[in-house]
């Protein structure tokens, strides 16, 4: 057994004070296997030691929340005895090192978090951030990540229905790959991870254990340096076919009464799954590692416990149900092995070749992981930028330029590589405000969106946190869905730096406030810190995955203009806010200024109004106003219409034209309203105490404003052209 030297301790990412705590807990020095187990259990990735204190402040309850954070995924009630189970999780570090496998296994991991709880996955989403398009690695990373997400999801047969993608130089050395899965379960058939029943068998199912991914969780908890390439062996390799078998086998067994508890083996593999199940059940486990199905010979206890081989699950089975369980996994040609027994000792006892190789108390490891109250400073407030201090460009030219910029260009090149229709329930495909997926066999649907505007969060983490939640709320409302709950994926730099910690603290405060005021609780989430390379941190990126519900899917609203001669109505107030806007960045080369503030009470009223109008069938099309402002939103509605229906807009004289067109004021929607319904729509807005203004008419095949006009065909070419040209392929056809 190797000597435990300060170097060995440091190479496991364990700080000297943490090692002192280990000595206290054990009353002796750990052996190497035990040290390895401590290191993954106490890694930032598994323990949330820097963020725990602040995550506790997020609202997590509502009458429809069945299970909040703490389990594999969050669970909400959607009526009729059904539940939606969902979560978003990062796979940032591995995806940078090996983009295809990193992204693929990210999808595999989040799928397992959801079907572990008894849900059949019905939709995948993602939130991706890449570096500057001109950075030499960006194209390679984009190609690999998109192919990896598609390669996994397409094979498993779960539709990837949407997401978001941004480019910014701050992600040059740390891309973000956040994957989200939404699943459907019967409310009375939800499975949890707490072990129960002393003497019950602990069962391992799925793929064999290999030497891949050892110390992935530890890697994901440190900054990148120049030698990150050498960490390639810590990246796992995905096998989506086995995942498909695992989904079917688990769901089949879940239809019997055999399973007491179940937990997937994700980060830190067998270690975290076994400790978590034992800790939640207040029990101990005795495990014989010789029984673990292994891919390679001669694996040590250390390697078995720390392997992050994919597509594996750990279960506690009812006594007498072993044969039934075995037959199901044999049908699906998956490994099945009884590897241990539950004990009342509260200890994890591991044996290899007949000898005890680790004997650790469970709760001190699982529960007493360090919790830090790291010092933080709130960033200085940025000045509000007045429209008169921002140059006015021709609106038509500016519109075209914005629609072709990397952050607004069409993502068709991406989502055409994802099977977004398999399972036959995708009612709104990628490209709209939110994906709409029917609940199979019913008239109900879930709407799903992922949102955050990192440049706002950088400029003001508190406002940016509020805005991310509000935008998710808005996107769900824009298709007609009632927003129910969110999952969050908090991506930041090194929390040991007070200014980064300040971003974390302030954005969580903002998110929490918005979630509370919008009745939109957080039910699951994931934190990814240390997204820095050579001291350069990413833009703070707390991604929000929002889920909403529709009772009648046939009523969902879409973005596309439907006919000429309709009124275009703008909901919400426009002040022409240009600080931290895309206009300011793309046309003026300035990344600065206070971001647009969110008025949550108005946000809520506007959402209620829009949902009611959609439910009553009073509008023809609906689109929220976000990046790029009003003119971009209107252009997107025109570009989405098959007939390329245009719009004539009447700008008010009270605001500078460029501020009206491109200001990113929050809480706004653009509606297309049939002339005959206009009076009642405006009345309804008044009843909701919400500003609504007719700003123009649909018709023609151009967007015209302020005496300038631009053909929609030109806008489509600009918008569709960027990504295929960047990735060096033929233009995506539509």
């Amino acid at each position: 057994m190797s000597q435990i030297t300060p170097e060995v301790i440091a190479s496991h990412g364990i700080k000297p004070d943490e090692y002192t705590k280990i000595l206290e807990i054990l009353g002796r020095a750990p052996n190497l296997t035990e040290l390895g187990i401590f290191s993954v259990m106490w890694s930032e990735h598994c323990s949330y030691k820097s963020s725990k204190k602040w995550l506790k402040t997020l609202p997590t309850k509502a009458p429809w929340v069945i299970c909040g954070p703490g389990e594999n995924a969050g669970v909400i009630d959607i009526g009729d005895g059904q539940a939606i189970i969902f979560k978003m999780e990062s796979h940032n570090h591995p995806s940078f090192i090996e983009p295809y496998q990193g992204a693929a296994t990210g999808v595999g991991g989040i799928l397992r978090d959801v079907f572990t709880m008894g849900a059949r996955p019905i939709a995948n989403m993602n939130a991706l951030r890449f570096g500057d398009p001109s950075h030499p690695k960006t194209r390679h990373l984009v190609a690999g990540v998109i192919a990896g997400i598609g390669g996994y999801g397409n094979c498993v047969g779960v539709p990837t229905v949407g997401g978001e993608t941004n480019f910014h130089a701050s992600y040059n050395g740390n891309i973000l790959v956040n994957a989200m899965t939404v699943g459907l379960a019967d409310k009375d058939k939800i499975f949890y991870s707490a072990a129960a029943g002393i003497g019950n068998p602990v069962v391992y199912v799925g793929s064999k254990t290999g030497r891949d991914g050892i110390h992935g969780a530890t890697m994901a908890s440190a900054e990148f340096s120049e030698d990150s390439e050498e960490k390639r062996p810590t990246v796992q390799v995905g096998d989506p076919f086995t995942e498909k078998l695992l989904i079917e086998a688990c769901l089949e067994l879940m239809n019997t009464d055999a399973i007491v508890a179940i937990q997937d083996m994700g980060a830190a593999g067998l270690t975290s799954s076994s400790f978590e199940m034992a800790s939640k059940g207040g029990l101990g486990i005795e495990m014989d590692l010789d029984a673990v199905p292994m891919r390679e010979e001669g694996m040590s206890a250390y390697e078995i416990m720390l392997s992050e081989s994919q597509e594996r699950m750990l279960m506690v089975i009812k006594p007498g149900r072993e044969d039934l369980a075995r037959s199901v996994f044999e049908k699906w040609e998956l490994d099945f092995a009884i590897v241990g027994t539950l004990t009342d000792s509260g200890r994890m006892v591991l044996k290899r070749h007949g000898e005890v190789v680790a004997d650790l108390p469970i709760d001190p490891l699982a529960l007493a992981s360090p919790e830090y109250d790291r010092p933080w400073v709130a960033p200085a407030k940025q000045p509000v930028i007045e429209a008169k201090d921002v140059p006015a460009h021709c609106p038509a030219d500016a519109l075209k330029q914005l629609l072709a910029c990397p952050d607004l260009a069409s993502r068709r090149w991406i989502w055409q590589q994802y099977d977004h229709m398999v399972m036959g329930d995708t009612v709104q495909r990628p490209g709209g405000d939110a994906a709409v997926v029917r609940i199979h066999g019913t008239e109900k649907a879930v709407a799903i969106t992922t949102d955050v505007t990192p440049r706002y969060v950088l400029a003001d983490p508190y406002e940016g946190g509020r805005q991310a939640v509000a935008e998710a709320y808005r996107n769900l409302s824009a298709v007609g869905a009632l927003p129910l709950a969110v999952t969050d994926n908090l991506n930041f730099g090194n929390p040991e730096k007070p200014e980064i910690m300040g971003q974390i603290v302030e954005s969580i405060r903002g998110m929490g406030q918005a979630c509370r005021e919008l009745d939109f609780p957080v039910v699951s989430g994931n934190v990814s810190l240390y997204n820095e390379t050579q001291g350069n941190a990413i833009l703070p990126t707390p991604a929000i995955g929002g889920v909403g519900l529709m009772d009648d899917v046939s009523k969902s609203a879409t973005v596309a203009f439907k006919q000429a001669g309709s009124a275009i109505v703008l909901i919400g107030e426009t002040k022409g806010w240009l600080g931290s806007s895309l206009y300011l960045r793309e046309l003026c080369g300035r990344e600065e200024g206070a971001p647009p503030p969110v008025a949550l009470h108005r946000e809520r009223r506007a959402g209620e109004l829009v949902r009611q109008l959609i439910g009553d069938g009073q509008i023809l099309a609906c689109h929220d106003v976000s990046d790029g402002g009003l003119l971009v939103a209107v252009a997107e509605m025109a570009m989405a219409s098959d007939a390329r229906i245009g719009a004539q807009l009447d700008a008010p004289s009270t605001l500078p034209l460029h501020a009206w067109c491109f200001g990113e004021d929050q809480g706004r929607y653009v509606l297309e309203v049939f002339e005959d319904d206009l009076v009642s729509v405006l009345e309804e807005a008044q009843n909701h105490d919400t500003t609504a203004r007719v700003i123009g008419k649909t018709g023609g095949h151009v967007i015209s404003v302020g005496g300038r006009a631009v053909p929609i065909d030109e806008l489509v070419d600009a918008n569709e052209g960027w990504m295929p040209a960047f990735m060096g392929s033929e233009m995506a056809q539509h």
Binding site: F241, V422, G424, R438
Partner: protein, 229 residues
């Protein structure tokens, strides 16, 4: 009409096609597991889309040698209608039930989108509700749909009316620009010599309901029900 859907462990469009069949037929099709060796009396066998056995090497190559495919071949030889969609088409070519091969798409990427197809032969049990020359919209979702067959075999297939569908634009024009994957002559689907077996890469079951964006695909299932009931 009695219909069955073959289920491989990696099939993932089995439910989708069962839903579409049931909507046209009124009853659920029989779902048959890949390890079964016997099929009852049937009018239609569907080999659905997906990734039959993971398909990491050559799509459909392993499935072609599965226990159930021996029985499917026997039934097909006896005249039972067989429809292979996407991975099902790949399996039928690998099994020798249909001529030709399906190679990687020419852009080497998975492509999922709606395409327009021109109906090339309406005098079959699969297409009696279409008219030759009709333009229909079905989705594709594949990485290996680039159809190829030897030139002399292709000429025979054309002469024999074995080309079922070609990729085209919305006006029915077949050109390189309307060809999503590089298929020979824009071929999207082919029949066997007797027109009792159809394989196609596009998914009729995915646009068989207006709520999902269109119902051109429903006519194929309606045709089969009409012809085989």
């Amino acid at each position: 009409m009695k219909a069955a859907v073959i289920v491989f462990p990696g099939s993932n469009c089995d439910r989708d096609v069962a839903v579409a069949l049931e909507a046209s037929l009124g009853t659920k099709p029989l779902m048959v597991w890949h390890r079964d060796t016997q099929l009852p009396d049937l009018d239609l066998i569907v080999v659905p889309g997906g990734f039959s056995y993971g398909d990491y090497l050559r799509c459909g190559a392993m499935a072609a040698h599965s226990p159930i495919m021996r029985e499917v071949k026997a039934k097909a030889d006896a005249g039972t209608r067989v429809l292979g969609i996407c991975n099902g088409f790949q399996i039928l070519t690998e099994s020798g039930l249909l001529p030709g091969v399906l190679m990687r798409n020419r852009n080497l990427k998975f492509i999922c989108k709606d395409v327009f197809l021109r109906v090339e032969n309406d005098r079959t049990d699969f297409c009696r509700y279409y008219r030759s020359g009709d333009v229909v919209r079905f989705p594709i979702a594949h990485a290996e749909g680039n159809y190829f067959v030897e030139p002399h075999a292709f000429r025979e297939m054309e002469d024999n009316g074995q080309i079922a569908f070609r990729y085209c634009d919305r006006n029915g024009r077949v050109s390189d620009a309307s060809n999503p994957n590089g298929s020979l002559s824009g071929v999207a689907g082919v029949y066997n010599a007797k027109k009792t077996v159809l394989g196609l890469m596009p998914h009729p079951e995915r646009l068989a309901e207006d709520l999902l964006g269109g119902s051109d695909g429903k006519l194929m299932f309606d045709s089969l029900v009409e012809a085989l009931s």
